[in-house]
């Protein structure tokens, strides 16, 4: 699905299901230089098992327009604004790699919007290939 957010077009895969506000929501967060497609199978499973499975491309990634966000905090805030745009009160955040840091930061600063977090491939500190931008130090 496409969502207008911050004046640009954001994309989120939902497992071929429309969102149902009566269901609990899951937001699946991809890692650096990746996109929603790392979560396709998981999203489809949850979407067909009683969950909203919101699987966004972060700005500047995959099908979402705009420049990449410069920090983990900015990505966490963007996720909260995405929940606003989708009229979802809260969600479980599942993050892979860089996305796991986004989940931690969002939970720490927006506890009312984050019901739980699940972290995949998470380490602190997290080092990245020097060829890609490193938002983790900011």
């Amino acid at each position: 699905m496409r969502v207008a957010l911050d004046g640009t077009a954001a994309y989120a895969y939902t497992g071929t299901r429309a969102l149902d506000r009566a269901q609990p929501s899951l937001v699946l967060l991809h890692g650096g230089e990746q996109d929603h497609s790392v979560w396709t199978l998981h999203a489809r499973w949850f979407a067909h098992h009683g969950w909203n499975a919101v699987t966004p491309d972060l700005p500047g990634h995959g099908r979402s327009a705009g420049a990449p966000l410069a920090s983990i905090a900015a990505m966490a805030d963007w996720i909260i604004r995405l929940l606003d745009a989708l009229a979802l009160d809260d969600a479980v955040l599942v993050g892979h790699s860089m996305g796991s840091l986004v989940a931690i930061d969002a939970a720490a600063r927006h506890p009312a919007r984050v019901r739980a977090i699940a972290l995949v491939g998470c380490t602190v500190p997290m080092t990245l290939d020097s060829s890609v931008a490193n938002p983790f130090r900011r």
Partner: protein
């Protein structure tokens, strides 16, 4: 297995690992029609693309999957579907890309089987083809219409080995929001990787050099993953919800592999022209030595041509490495490792001389195939094209004395002795 490895390493390893169940180092033949589900939810998840795994060997099979991954790696694609034959691969591609009313622009220098499908059979299902001279770029461009969904040619055309200018033809296709598919059977990825030149889809008759030993009928279809189906807007098959899969959109499911996903989930499911696991195993044995074999095929071919050029009674040799071939310069750029091991030449004396030539050979097998480890020969005017008169043959680029060879892996001296015997018989008349 990293795609960073080099060709000959990928040819041995891509898509395979020691068998997780038994440790078997060679890829086992999973000769089974179906795969047991762990429970009802596992079954439902497999059917609904929520879990990776195998359900039924018409859709996917572990042995076949190794071949598919290996071919995708060797061609530089994102995925592949193995098919019952090269014909099945061609049909699967077309049926995935278009409905009745669709249109193909194809090179007129095609394998006869492909020509039959496009010229005679697909029109019965409402799919038309315009054939063009593959060297005439304007003809490709002007043949494209609002219903066109595919441009199609062969890396080396039949029978004159016309070299397809892939980057230019791909450029024309992409200007019109269309994909280019290339039949790379004669070249194999060892001689050329069409995707690196701009092709969007690649198909093979794996019966030929890929399997390499004349054992099986097999085909492979490879998706480059580079064609933007959403941007084209000509392919609702890829971008619109598909009622046959609960409203799933293939381009939504996969940014890069929408085509190959639909080819499997619809085409293999409904048309059913899948590859058997045992066939995949045989093709894999060939692919593992592809580089070594192609080097020898090309070396033997070059030596045979060098010999033919010194013999009297030979009127014409069609091989792009020769300076008088119309695509000589293009071949040097696209095919520096060689122009394959199938070529034709004309013997003086027409149809009777051609027949005598064939019948005198003892080592070359007289049959309708190419790309075997053994050397093969055919005389089109007395076999595949025997109903045609001289004029019709000429229109097809074939002379009455045209002989086609598929040069095998034997000691080349023995091949030259055999050809020498054939030529002597041909010229005796």
């Amino acid at each position: 297995m990293s795609d960073e490895h080099r060709f000959d390493t990928l040819a041995l390893h891509a898509g395979a690992a020691p068998d997780p169940a038994t440790g078997a180092r060679a890829t086992p033949i999973y000769q089974t029609a179906s795969f047991a589900f762990r429970d009802a939810d596992h079954a439902a998840a497999l059917f609904n693309l929520e879990r990776p795994g195998h359900v039924y060997s018409r859709l996917s099979n572990p042995t076949v999957a190794v071949l598919e991954e290996r071919m995708a790696a060797l061609e530089g694609g994102v995925g592949a579907v193995a098919c019952a034959s090269g014909q099945a691969a061609l049909h699967l591609a077309i049926a995935t890309l278009m409905d009745a009313g669709g249109h193909v622009v194809a090179s007129r220098a095609l394998y006869g089987g492909s020509h039959n499908l496009l010229a005679y059979t697909l029109p019965r299902f409402g799919i038309r083809t315009t054939f063009v001279d593959p060297r005439d770029l304007d003809a490709w461009r002007t043949a494209i219409g609002p219903d066109t969904r595919l441009l199609f040619g062969e890396t080396l055309g039949n029978p004159g080995l016309d070299v397809l200018d892939i980057s230019r033809v791909a450029g024309i296709a992409h200007e019109h929001g269309l994909p280019l598919m290339v039949d790379s059977t004669f070249t194999t990825p060892w001689l050329m990787q069409p995707i690196t030149h701009g092709a969007d889809l690649v198909m093979h008759s794996a019966t030929k050099f890929l399997s390499g030993h004349g054992l099986v009928i097999a085909g492979v279809l490879v998706d480059s993953g580079r064609f933007d189906w959403q941007a084209s807007a000509r392919f609702p098959q890829m971008t619109a919800p598909y009622a046959g899969f609960h409203g799933l959109s293939f381009a939504e499911e996969s940014d890069v592999a929408a085509f190959i996903l639909r080819a499997r989930r619809e085409g293999l499911r409904d048309f059913g022209a899948c590859m058997s696991p045992t066939t995949a195993f045989h093709v894999l044995q060939g692919v593992e030595t592809l580089g070594l074999r192609m080097q020898r095929h090309v070396a033997n071919t070059r030596r045979v041509i060098e010999w033919l050029r010194t013999e009297s009674g030979i009127e014409r040799i069609a091989y792009p490495e020769l300076p008088d071939h119309p695509d000589h310069a293009l071949a040097k750029a696209l095919l520096p490792r060689g122009c394959g091991a199938v070529f034709s030449f004309d013997v003086q004396g027409g149809r009777p001389a051609g027949r005598r030539f064939i019948e005198a050979l003892r080592l070359f097998s007289h049959l309708a195939n190419v790309g075997d480890a053994r050397s093969l020969v055919i005389h089109p005017a007395s076999t595949t094209h025997f109903r045609m008169d001289a004029q019709a043959l000429a229109a097809a680029g074939i002379g009455e004395g045209t002989i086609r060879l598929s040069v095998g892996l034997e000691d080349v001296h023995d091949l030259l002795e055999d050809l020498s015997r054939g030529l002597a018989a041909a010229l005796k008349g």
